[in-house]
Symmetry: D2
Subunit: 373 residues, 4 copies
């Protein structure tokens, strides 16, 4: 249940304090406050959580400052695409880059930072090909406690400095603990905020709700959340909603394959057929991660790598962001080398993506024309 308060309700005011006291008395009910501060008006929503079935709309309506009471019936209340004329935004801008259900951004980069040299070679190549986004892994969750876990905060200074040097505007970077957000913020400030960071929640933490809440509370960095393996799509979309209910609505949802042996010989079962589904159910831009889905550099008889093929599949169905592993020297990469693309493949990759994107645009244009008749 959501209480939409009167515009410009004062969070220090007497009415607000009365409201708080009344809410605190409701048995089995917790609440969470979301404020959207605009230039002219501040909107406040109070989310009631718990046994709300026991409450009536009438009972809530009479509380001070309450303008409207809404029972949450549709799923993904904040990020969802609701029935009948949901014209809320399906895009956002961050550090000069726009992310929406209508854009396409490529995040080619290192799965795991392993040296300053790798980072520099990668970013140099990106700049040479007109790219302004990348992925850089500093904190790596690994299945075995005996495997390399990433350089963590220690690599951030040179990663950010080089990003500035080569004109990178947004770096997707996985975090596995809320303290990493502070480390990232501090490292950015220390070198003068030369770039931006999109926080990435990996598939092992999709339902790490405490992390989601902490990351959702800050609105400085946008968040890319990966679909969880082993759970339904609905559960993963609810996880994204955790970010949004805490206040951060700059959220990208990323498909990365599901873990089942039915996907063999790929490492995971590629799920990019869900690109149009996520766009229908929510207003989030949809990312695809072909590297972890496919997990190999196998090549079809037509000369194209499987990784290229699944990227084309995602893009021709409208994917908005591609998270893809490259490495200057895959044989010596510390994590997931076998699936990384070579720097010499960056040009062919971008050209291949462009053909698929052109196909998507022709398809939707034709659909609009046919509907118009």
């Amino acid at each position: 249940m959501i209480l939409v308060l009167e515009p410009n309700t004062d969070p220090q005011g007497a009415d607000w304090r009365i409201l708080e006291r009344q809410l605190a008395r409701l048995p089995g009910i917790q609440y969470r406050v979301h404020r959207e501060v605009g230039s002219e008006v501040t909107l406040t929503e109070v989310y009631l959580i718990g046994n709300t079935a026991a409450l009536t709309v009438e009972q809530m309506q009479v509380l001070p400052t309450v303008a409207k009471v809404v029972r949450v019936s549709e799923p993904y209340r904040v990020l969802g695409r609701h029935k009948q004329g949901d014209d809320r935004a399906s895009s956002f801008e961050y550090n000069g880059v726009r992310f929406g259900q209508d854009t396409l951004n490529v995040f080619a980069g290192l799965c795991a930072v392993d040296s300053r040299e790798s980072v520099e070679e990668m970013m140099q190549a990106l700049q040479a090909h007109g790219q302004t986004c990348t992925r850089m892994g500093a904190y790596k969750p690994r299945t075995s406690p005996y495997a390399f876990q990433g350089f963590g905060a220690s690599c951030l200074p040179y990663v950010f400095e080089l990003a500035g040097k080569y004109g990178i505007r947004v770096i997707a970077m996985e975090i596995t603990h809320e303290s990493h957000v502070d480390e990232i913020r501090a490292a950015l400030q220390a070198c003068g905020n030369p770039t931006g960071v999109m926080l990435q929640i990996g598939t092992r933490n999709t339902q790490n709700f405490e992390l989601l809440k902490m990351v959702g509370k800050q609105q400085e960095f946008p968040v890319l959340i990966k679909r969880g393996f082993g759970i339904t799509l609905d559960e993963s979309l609810n996880a994204a909603e955790y970010l949004a209910t805490e206040g951060n609505r700059k959220v990208v949802f990323c498909l990365r394959g599901m873990k089942t042996n039915m996907g063999d010989p790929h490492r995971n079962f590629v799920d990019f057929s869900h690109v149009p589904v996520v766009k229908r159910l929510t207003r989030m831009p949809v990312a695809i991660d072909p590297s972890h889905s496919v997990g190999t550099r196998a090549r079809a008889p037509d000369g194209l790598l499987d990784i290229f093929h699944v990227v084309a599949q995602g893009v021709i169905a409208g994917a908005n962001l591609i998270l893809v592993d490259f490495h200057p020297d895959p044989a010596h990469a510390l994590v997931d080398g076998p699936q990384a693309l070579l720097l010499s493949e960056l040009r062919p990759f971008l050209d291949d993506v462009a053909i698929a994107r052109d196909g998507y645009e022709r398809r939707t244009k034709l659909a609009r024309e046919q509907t118009a008749h």
Copy 2:
């Protein structure tokens, strides 16, 4: 283990009879003979099955008429794409239509024949749009014994007659028992063979090895075999190999989604990322069945149906055949109406496919050029 016999070995000759007697004596060994009758030469291969580990190549080499002994080490011996220079054909022709790993054929049609009128409307529309292939279901395997099971042989006469009338050259038709092949053959002959039939093995019969052997023994009709749900891709490809070892090498392999709730809200988990995989592992043309994979007429916010999107995904990665459900009146279809496309969507569908196919051709052309440098 495979014994390749000397060319033109006489199946009535004395040597052959000696060979047969010797093979019969091998403990725990069965064998199967495959003859390829060419215009100038007849080739014979004998497949030894069972405990062949106990046999030596030398021991077999000295048997009469044996020219060469090959231990089967690579999987999918007949249909597979083997390492290093496998230049065996990856296409075949049937009734004037070519099916290969380089072609694209659309089989739009009825999931289940429910009346002569539906069939005629469908075929008329196909002809009007230049199509010469279709799908028509007469024998329907149904989960519940209390559901409609298809009209069976009784609808074949008008289906075939109308196919002739509207210039249809190949009908994909599921069979669930070997007797259906005889019924189809008889019905075709009865009306003067006005069209051709591609026998279809459904996902519930992918490992019905007795059916595969019977269908493999005949070489009159090509066979489209669907991937089995619940089994690995490797097991499904082995099932296709059953057809081939019996002699029928005109085999198309069809992806149709895997059954798991991870595919929700689609009916099945769309598996078209395996298009390049099947082309790499075997020389079979690869079909996709978007209707049963997706199972709904849900539409993305960009105006395109999910079914259109997954078809585009299959085609841009090189799919060779599309099996797709249409119906003149889906609301009254007896089987799987909800997922059928409307006849008015045939033109948009074909246009959409053409864009994706164009994308695939541009992608492979570019890949060839880049490799050439």
Copy 3:
């Protein structure tokens, strides 16, 4: 929809012929007739299949000889356990052995017959331990066409003869084609019917509906049908219902593990937690197949094989039949040797089963007593 006809309706009579003619005229409707011939009365049921939603009960009620019209609303009409006082039998007898939801029968034997010697050693051991049932595989469906497929009909004479010699009353034997039923019947007759056969439908044929219908039409042999992997339990129970609607109600349902890597390191994911579920949903005796579920001879630190543990799990929850692989010389078995138990383990196996069965009986006795208070 089911038409229950008046008792002793004459299948040659005029009324019946009129009924048949009327049913033939119903559009989109097929029907199937089931006759239960008792000592005093013959009952006839007509199952209407297809678009029965278009029919009314009233319309059917007035047809000649129709005593009652029942809309099928509950699943598994014939084999199901329906709500409120379903007191139909949940057991049957065959060749002097009783199979029910309250009995426990052990079918230890050979996964695949590989020699007369193996069969004799096995049966001798069974007799020595008081067993009268066994499993013997003659027809083996194999994933690869290049693997040993069983000796088929050729081994039946000595298998049946030895069964007679060692007092075996029922042999569970997989069939993969309807012709195998004829071969089995002929071989039994040829040696004077010294034993009985329970036909077994394997997991690859669970939805081979043509085979189910053929096997369901005969009522001579009972049928054990295995759960299909890759399909839901509901779909597998519907497959069993196919047997029953054709007339054969002597059906045992067998759990054999589901195929998913989540079951690793076992070969399949053991599903014996569904023993009470199948007993609640249907009136079929429930079998378990620990050998194919577990697939290894791994042993726990407590000294017991995993195979023993999962058998105990099935039995303590009420399993009624155990299908388990033994072999006199597993190292040389042609099929699935690694999972076979040794003849020296037969005594410990039976003792272990007895402890678990005793546990089940104590548990249900206690439950009855506690309910009685």
Copy 4:
């Protein structure tokens, strides 16, 4: 790679500092130190993590204080059951209760604390039936952000106070963030440590490695870690190993069913066939959670609930701990009411468990006797 140092190596000594400096210079290598402080001797192990393939045993052997160098080849180095004579302990004691691969402890209790009254009724019933362990959920991870998330720290004072009052020695309590450990510790101290707590890591956090590391660093509370759904058993066991490498070896591993529709109509696919597997692969006591596995109160025709049946299955195969939901008033429980057992079912439940445990003990006794011969 593990460096076993000389006994009583001084962590302040010169040798140690030299060693540290040398380790810091190894490229791509991180390390972690584990000290086991005994009454007479302190043992120190240094785990090298990362690209250890580049290191040689010889190179490490010569470093100061290094007594032995071990390449980690066997999985689950700390918790695993290694080949050949692994006689390390497979049990531990906590607050007067012993947990081992040979014991059986029942943790009946509330899935989620919802009122002081529920807690008191529950604990009273436990004491009346001689129980000294329970489960009490304060922090509840919920799929939807709009659902009740538990009372958190606010309920701890009365939960612990009542535990003391009713003689409860160990409470299993899920935590989802490291701060919860501090809250629990503080609340225990505030009321004079009247009881003990076993920290519980839920299935959504099985691969929340940061949480595992934090919880592993403290050795005050033992930890029960649940198997992760959607990942392999091997991956879940590796997650448990994270706890151990940080120093906490009081770890219980809990099976709780896998999430797949193949388990329908149960909520999850019950995986208690893995009880003997986990005991073979590791030295951890194995817990089972029947409530979340089964997820319903469905009852078999023999009068026993499915929950009782799967518990019996786990126990007869050697399960060591049962985590089971009870509630004084399930209809009004805030979380997972439908699957909770009634307080009136506590006696029947314990009796049923006792029969299964007796079965397990008879089975292993017999196995030992038969081996002895």
